[in-house]
Symmetry: C2
Subunit: 207 residues, 2 copies
DNA sequence: GACTTTAGACCGACCAGTCGGTCTGGAGGC
DNA sequence: GCCTCCAGACCGACTGGTCGGTCTAAAGTC
């Protein structure tokens, strides 16, 4: 923060660095204690910053939370898209997406906690946000399912409901892992889960 | 309660009645505004009672919430068991349970909201409670799946993971209904959902 | 020396929980 | 039958603490 002759650690300094430190600290604190359990003072302390600094960089507690969620979602969506782009065939894409999601959450527990748990049931503003995220992911899944139907890879079904069912399934498996630690590693559930999901739409596993 | 000359409307009066009124009001308020969004004063007002009365009947805000959740869970578990007992064959039982759960939540939106949404991410004490509920339901599903395997109705699979997957799926469909109102009525998703779930374990629909 | 960034004391709203007190109905004495 | 007394249900003003957000003064930066 203050004096600074270049040190080994590439000098986490400057405006952007502080902002980042606060963001990281917020991720940690929120994921550990939940939104309401986390005081702004906690975050500030964890970031070795001050309240003034916090409110200089972010307009409110709620907004930093949203900023966090958005950052995560964008990152998750992007890496998933990339993984999907590598694959040919709707079912292979679905499968690749599942892998990516699992790997991402597996590496970043706190992310997972924030996205899947901490944000729920906090009131209107939050619900709406989470809802639109769910809708967005569901729409993505649905579009690939629709493609699979068009391809003839699977019989026609209610792809929208199926999308939500799949999301719920994945969600629950990850939440269970967050709380109970099973399976360890999380990826251990991948094969079984993929088979369950694919069978639910009458597709044979494409591994 | 106390004396009782049989009346038509059992006179909403006396200690037990007040307790009940508070409990009902709490259900309503919690489901609408979430746990943290609900002040004890709100509940008291909705129940036409006083703060003193509230704390006479319940030790704390947290405890009334738990009391509520427990009441709901017990009721849900009981009616589900009953429905199950009527059926022969593991798969038929599963199907009956699904029906009951859907019907129950469909009739009692606020219950659903409390159980599936309001209680999440509120801190350790809450998480533990919710977790044990999830575990309990998952165990129930698992045991019936195991039975189905033993019966030879379905091929052997990881029944524990499957149980969680199913729970997550059901959960998500209901949550979607809570927030978006689709499908209306909720029961409209039953057939598709049942088929998805049963297919996921390679069982043919048993309607 | 102007402008940006940081520090942390401070403010005010909010709210769970408390406490002194009221009210009602019934038990028991007479 | 009437009066006294008590338990315990109920009331709501109040308190103590917490926490989101503000503000001023100073340090850092260019």
């Amino acid at each position: 923060m203050e004096v600074r002759e270049s040190q080994v650690e590439p000098a986490p300094e400057g405006k952007e660095a502080t902002r980042q430190r606060i963001l990281d600290a917020a991720t940690e604190v929120f994921s550990e204690k939940g939104y309401h359990g986390s005081a702004v003072d906690d975050i500030v302390k964890a970031a070795s910053a001050s309240k003034g600094s916090f409110y200089f960089h972010f307009p409110s507690k709620q907004e930093i939370f949203f900023a966090l969620v958005d950052r995560l979602i964008v990152a998750l969506a992007r890496s998933t898209e990339e993984a999907i782009a590598q694959e040919r065939g709707a079912l292979a894409k679905v499968s690749a997406a599942l892998d990516t999601v699992f790997r991402t959450f597996s590496r970043h527990r706190s992310l997972a906690k924030i996205l899947l748990v901490s944000g729920v049931g906090l009131g209107k503003a939050f619900d709406e946000r989470l809802l639109s995220i769910h809708a967005r992911f569901a729409a993505a899944i649905k579009s690939h399912l629709d493609e699979a139907v068009a391809e003839g890879s699977i019989p026609p079904i209610d792809t929208e409901l199926t999308a939500y069912v799949w999301m719920g399934a994945v969600n629950e498996v990850i939440v269970r892992w967050l709380y109970t630690g099973k399976p360890e590693p999380l990826e251990g559930a991948l094969d079984t889960l993929r088979e369950l999901l694919l069978r639910s739409i009458r597709a044979e596993s494409q591994r």
